[in-house]
């Protein structure tokens, strides 16, 4: 295991002062890209993801359209300036291609694609600033952008990460903990249906720690869900005010 530049856990607190079960500050704004049918910006601490949704719209190429349901197209991408070290090449890496796939598979269970035959729904996610947990912040942003676009959904999908740091299960990994921790587990969760739609893990976990982490992920997701709901409500209150006045 690589040695971290600062202790990851000291007197029960993490390097950035958080308790193990504490999220960073969660900031969410819905409807930030005016041209898109739906959009959202989500920040977990210094990690910022912007999602924009276009659709449902006609599927091109036509032969990839389906007669009985819509198809989803998801792109996760990191801006070249989003990382702390050298400029990241804008060419999609293998990591970004894999994340695009797992995010699509994390959103599809929530979206009623059967309502959109022969159409496609595009979800574009851009990481503007990365400090760990980018794929789960992306997931929250993407599902809010879908809701903002008025796409039929079974539930919101909320993303949170949990990790193993010095043998302790912690919520919402930052970049430091992601690099030097013993394990990382990104989770996507539908809070009302109580179902997991994204689950990945690396590191070395016992069964007990894994189950503990699942429990903490649910707790974290329920918290983020409240913030997400508020943000979505604010968006529609603003529209209602615009139309009907106060």
């Amino acid at each position: 295991m690589k040695k971290p530049p600062v202790p990851l856990l000291q007197n029960g607190l993490r390097a950035d002062g958080r308790a193990p079960d504490q999220m960073r500050e969660v900031q969410i704004q819905v409807g930030t890209v005016s041209n898109a049918d739906g959009s959202a910006v989500v920040s977990y601490g210094a990690t910022t993801a912007v999602a924009a949704v276009y659709g449902p719209r006609e599927m091109h190429p036509r032969h990839l359209s389906l007669p009985d349901r819509g198809v989803m197209r998801v792109r996760y991408h990191m801006a070249p300036f989003s990382t702390k070290d050298e400029r990241k090449s804008p060419t999609p890496s293998r990591r970004e291609i894999e994340i695009s796939k797992v995010l699509r598979e994390a959103l599809e269970p929530a979206v009623m694609l059967e309502q959109y035959p022969r159409s496609r729904i595009d979800v574009f996610i851009e990481i503007l600033q990365a400090d760990g947990s980018t794929r789960v912040a992306s997931l929250t942003a993407a599902s809010l952008a879908l809701a903002d676009a008025g796409i039929y959904m079974r539930d919101l999908v909320v993303g949170v990460s949990v990790g193993l740091v010095d043998g302790t299960v912690v919520l919402d990994l930052n970049g430091l903990e992601d690099n030097y921790g013993e394990g990382d587990m990104p989770v996507g969760y539908m809070p009302n249906l109580r179902r997991f739609t994204l689950l990945q893990l690396d590191g070395a976990w016992t069964r007990e720690k894994f189950l503990e982490a699942l429990g903490l992920a649910v707790k974290g997701a329920e918290y983020v869900y409240q913030v997400a709901r508020e943000a979505l409500k604010n968006r529609y209150m603003a529209i209602a005010e615009e139309i009907y006045g106060r």
């Binding site: 690589k2 032969h63 990839l64 359209s65 389906l66 349901r69 198809v71 989803m72 197209r73 998801v74 792109r75 999609p92 293998r94 990591r95 970004e96 291609i97 894999e98 695009s100 796939k101 797992v102 995010l103 699509r104 598979e105 994390a106 599809e108 269970p109 694609l113 496609r120 595009d122 574009f124 690099n179 394990g183 587990m185 539908m190 249906l193 109580r194 179902r195 997991f196 739609t197 994204l198 689950l199 990945q200 893990l201 690396d202 590191g203 070395a204 976990w205 016992t206 069964r207 894994f210 189950l211 699942l214 649910v218």
Partner: protein, 274 residues
Amino acid sequence: MASISPYGKRFISYLRREQIRRLIASKARIDGREVDQVRPVEVKTGIVKTADGSAEVKLGKTHVVAGVKIGLGQPFPDAPDEGVLVVNAEVLPHASPYTEVGPPDEFAIELARVVDRGLRHCGYVDFKKLSVEGGKAYVLWVDLYVINDDGNLVDAANLAAVAALKNAALPAVVKDETGAVKLDRNSRAPMPLDLEKAPIAVSVGKIANVLFLDPIFEEELSLDGRITYTFAQERIVAIQKTLGSFTQQELEAALDLAWRGRESYLASLKEVLQ
């Protein structure tokens, strides 16, 4: 590059799908297996003489060849005293009527990355012993080639990678006239492996709320959910949910089922890993 719902490319007739779903609902399967039964596994090593290590795995009709090539290169800046592992997977156009010629698509990339994650965190390969003097390191290139896809490529490819690494031998590092280091393939040492910690990937499919091991191709086209657990000894070293959604209860049940599947796969590797 974006990820598109793939159902348009790979499909199965509704009748066949309904048949598979009906059977599974009563815990029976289209090929006669039990839900907790993996297909017969055949592992052969040393099948490619030009590689530094190789193996072939047949999981039922699924057929994967793994080749290891060893080179010298730069270690990663954040791990200067460790060797480098690169896992790549290609699903050959031979593998199924749905596979196209071209660079690895998202399925192949995911396959490689899931196998990579298992190998990287399990302690099977001692990367510290793969560092070379003069700031260099051994680079282990593990290439996974799928020749026939009858489903569950992850489990088969993982077994092939584990077996090929066991079969590999490390070329000696020598200095040439100018003092630069290079590899001498005529003189070799065994790979620094901890055989006890070999990672075992076990995929669990879900159809009609029934969980089962080792889905075949037709079952894969009928799945409601799919998740892979990778174990090294009693630890979980990788997880990848690749389809659908799961409740917490289902995740725990899938974990227990995968743990049982691990026993079968380990038994098939027994001869190779000694």
